[in-house]
């Protein structure tokens, strides 16, 4: 059984990416700090050892903001495969969130949408921990 999951988000510019990024801070810092590591895309691309280790040591959960799947492709580029991929637009629909009501560039960590997405992704983390 894996003891941690690597959270590897899309770090794009669109609102969905900001929502995912903020949710991952909630998971990593508040909900599951001992069960997650937070992978940085540009650092992984630059072969920063810590980020390379993360994807080699732990199952990777990629969190995508759109269907370009850049985070998943980046993990592929570094010779690993994501164990699971979550797309924020799917969660927005599932959780019935009003994306239009959220600000573009920064979403407060306490925003109910951020908290809801974080809790939902945390469920996937727990599943991965038991199944990997």
């Amino acid at each position: 059984m894996a003891d941690k999951v690597c959270l590897q988000p899309c770090l794009g510019l669109r609102k969905e990416a900001v929502l995912g990024r903020q949710a991952l801070y909630v998971i990593h810092e508040d909900l599951l700090p001992d069960e997650t590591v937070l992978g940085c895309g540009p650092a992984l691309n630059a072969n920063v050892q810590e980020d390379v280790d993360f994807i080699n040591l732990y199952p990777v959960l990629t969190v995508e903001a759109c269907d370009l799947d850049c985070a998943t492709k980046l993990v592929d580029k570094k010779q690993q495969r994501a164990a699971r991929t979550i797309r924020i637009p799917d969660l927005v629909n599932e959780l019935k969130l009003d994306l239009d009501a959220l600000p573009e560039e920064h979403i407060d960590i306490e925003d109910p949408a951020v908290q809801a997405v974080a809790k939902r992704i945390a469920e996937d983390v727990k599943e991965l921990l038991t199944s990997s």
Partner: protein, 142 residues
Amino acid sequence: MAQEHDFKVAVLPCNGIGRLVSTVVRLAGYRIKKERPDQVVLLSSGRLAVKEPEHLAAFQKYPVLVIDGCRPHCASFMADELGKTPAARIYIADVAAENRISIAGDKRRGLTEKGKKLVHAVADKAGAEIDRIIADEMLSTL
């Protein structure tokens, strides 16, 4: 017939997530684009890392300003990886030192006024670099 020119700068912030400076870089990128909507193409490091065609085309077409948050200089790495020497580079620690701004105590999940002050300083420095880059491009056509 006068030649048409498209004087823009592609801004590549690292847009990382791991550090406090990552948030500074990310918000500075938005601010730069907001202040200079007609002069700036804001690039996503995530898309560029996997060579998304639209972003790659903009990266190749325009002079590039990279903004690096922390020591690995990942945005610079990306530019080097794609075979282009940036027209300018900004490193957040340099801007913090030049402006004597400390962001100790701020958090990556959300900046206080201290962090926002550094965001503004980075955007100001980027603006000066963009002016210089565009002037250089314009003069090179004369």
